[in-house]
Amino acid sequence: MGPVSNTIILLFLFALIGLLYLTQVTKTNSFGYSINELRQQRSQLQDEKADLEIASARLRSLDRVAQSEVAKSLVPTTPTGTVQ
């Protein structure tokens, strides 16, 4: 093969390598979107968890428990530590 053929082959190889590089970079960057999506999902789940914790704490608050039907139906008993 002469010098022209060599040059063409080299240019082709460079182009091929460049193309490979670009496909890989594009593919890698596309992971960025997946990562971003997963981050958003994680953030949403964390928010939901926090909301549930707050709801749970509010449901167990002393004011709410004191005003519940169960609490209202309780009857007083004689304290054991008190002399009547």
């Binding site: 960025g32 971003n36 926090a50 008190t82 002399v83």
Partner: protein, 560 residues
């Protein structure tokens, strides 16, 4: 053209690289989540401060098209004032006009669904309090700058706040980071520590209820009370009235209510100090529990008379338990005089010895180091410097001319009745790190041998004698050990001397069986009912609290 390309791509490479990076590279701060606060709930822990994502509604007046219509629509969702919104948008003072704060997720969704030009909602983490105003002054709040103010939030701000992270990345046009850049930097945020307090939820609630009822009955506008574990220094309940809701701190007009008066507001404690004077004199072996002495009914020191309340009567022979039971000022001064070995004078030796007990053993005049903002140390006069020292020191023997916080008195009393160990008062039981590790806080011994063991027993018996003689209603069952002492202190007038008609009531006491389990301190400011403030206003609150502890909090009765 080749030359131009060479110039742009090689010679000017750095310039264009920086210009491109400035456009493509973005830097974000990743907020750390503030740690939550939990309290004890009968053997488990329950959150009392949490984080809630709420939304701040804002407008950019440049892009708002129909101000009136926008304001009306927003006000319908937020239940706000449409006129106020319209006025804020028209003022055009900024490109970021805050219209409303703390909108819920649902409200935020409704606002965004309207697609109003120039209107947006920004997510912000706020503190939320499932138990409302309970223990508000112990907790403190987080201000609009995200900084802890007052209480635990202030004292432990650095631990609770955590450290923000950072993301520096090449992004696409929408700001999404691209994964392929080797220049990307991501530093994860370090979330704040979760703090677990020693506060017992149900006890705190009952303390606040009993105190409120007690203050109403005593016609007092304010007061404080706390319950401490006598054998560890752990504060189990602590409250002040009036109080506030920390979720609404920005609506509070009197900032005085932010203070935890139990730790930040020292006062002349009055006759409760006689217990400490008796303990010091017993420990120095200058008196015995059965010592009887002649009380002249008054002492003249530095040309001033020290006298007693009318009910004590004139001169006579007294015993040490009587000094506490009948709250005899001249008896307390007499015990102090014995520390210097000379009746009739509070000499240098008496002052220095008593100062040593107050400062180096009872730890008065020093902040305790409890995890609270704005703690005050109180004052104890110097034994050798100052005016009218004999009189001043005689006054300290019954709790005047010196100041201490209710917390200091609780810790000092605990050290006297628990056998002689001063534990540092604390509110933190454990710290849970973001990595999952939990560090349990162990009781810290500040001083051992505050008083001898036998002195501790003797003082307990005397305090039990005082309670029995004051006939609590209902009385306490004999298998429990309940002791206490009243205190009524005149209030210092800022322009000199004391008010003739203004008093604070105090009560210090303990509850237990073979050994004291809880120490209780009650303070009632300026009660407006008849009788002495300590016995008429503070003592009934203590009785109620003691019964509450015995009935609900597993006080171990005497073994025989």
């Amino acid at each position: 053209m080749v030359g131009r390309l060479f110039y742009l791509q090689v010679i000017r490479h750095e310039h264009y690289r920086i210009a491109a990076l400035a456009d493509q590279q973005k830097e974000y701060a990743i907020a750390a989540e503030r740690g939550i606060i939990k309290v004890q709930d009968g053997g488990r822990q329950t959150p009392i401060v949490l984080n809630e994502k709420l939304y701040t509604l804002y407008a950019d007046p440049v892009y708002v098209k129909d101000v009136g219509d926008t304001a009306d629509k927003l006000a319908t969702i937020t239940k706000g004032d449409a006129k106020q919104y319209a006025s804020s948008i028209k003022s055009n003072s900024s490109r970021y006009v805050v219209l409303a704060k703390r909108l819920s997720e649902e409200q935020q969704g409704q606002v965004l669904a309207l697609k109003l030009p120039g209107v947006g909602a920004q997510a912000i983490n706020y503190r939320t309090y499932p138990q409302g105003s309970l223990a508000s002054q112990v907790l403190g709040f987080v201000n609009d700058e995200g900084k802890g103010s007052y209480g635990v939030e202030q004292a432990l701000n650095n631990d609770l706040a955590g450290r923000a992270g950072r993301l520096k990345a090449i992004t696409d046009v929408q700001g999404v980071p691209l994964a392929a850049s080797e220049d990307n930097v991501e530093i994860s945020p370090q979330n704040g520590d979760n703090v677990i307090l020693t506060i017992e939820l149900a006890m705190q609630r009952q303390l606040e209820s009993i105190m409120k009822a007690g203050l109403d009955k005593a016609k007092s506008g304010s007061g404080s009370a706390l319950i401490m574990d006598a054998n560890t220094g752990a504060v189990k309940a602590m409250a002040n009235l009036p109080t506030y809701n920390p979720a609404d701190f920005f609506n509070v007009t009197d900032q005085g209510v932010f203070n935890n008066a139990c730790v930040s507001s020292p006062l002349e404690v009055g006759s409760v100090m006689k217990v400490m004077t008796a303990a010091a004199a017993l420990d120095l072996a200058v008196i015995k529990p059965d010592t009887a002495f002649y009380d002249p009914g008054h002492w003249k020191l530095n040309d001033h008379e020290i006298t007693n309340i009318e009910e004590v009567g004139g001169p006579g022979t007294r015993t040490i338990p009587q000094v506490l039971d009948r709250s005899i000022n001249t008896g307390a001064a007499w015990m102090l005089m014995q520390m210097g070995g000379k009746t009739g004078s509070v000499n240098k030796q008496a002052r220095e010895r008593w100062y040593d007990y107050m400062v180096n053993r009872y730890q008065l005049s020093k902040p305790t180091g409890i995890e609270q903002g704005y703690e005050s140390g109180g004052t104890v006069p110097d034994p050798n410097e100052g005016f009218a020292l004999e009189l001043a020191y005689a006054n300290t023997s019954f709790g005047q001319a010196m100041t201490a916080t209710p917390l200091q008195m609780a810790a000092a009393l605990a050290s006297v009745v628990n056998g002689g160990t001063y534990y540092q008062p604390r509110l933190v039981d454990a710290v849970a790190k973001a990595d999952g590790q939990t560090k349990k806080i162990t009781p810290k011994v500040v001083k051992k041998g505050v008083v001898a063991g036998h002195v501790s027993d003797e003082v307990r018996q005397m305090m039990e004698f005082v309670v029995a003689n004051h006939r609590p209603q209902p009385p306490f069952a004999s298998q429990y050990s309940v002791g206490g002492k009243t205190g009524t202190a005149q209030i210092a007038n800022p322009s000199g001397g004391y008010y003739k008609d203004k008093y604070n009531g105090m009560y210090i006491g303990f509850v237990g069986g073979d050994r004291p389990q809880y120490v209780v301190v009650v303070r009632v400011n300026e009660p407006k009912i008849g009788g002495y403030a300590g016995s008429a206003a503070a003592q009934p609150i203590f009785w109620q609290l003691a019964h509450m502890l015995i009935n609900n909090f597993n006080v171990q009765p005497r073994s025989h």
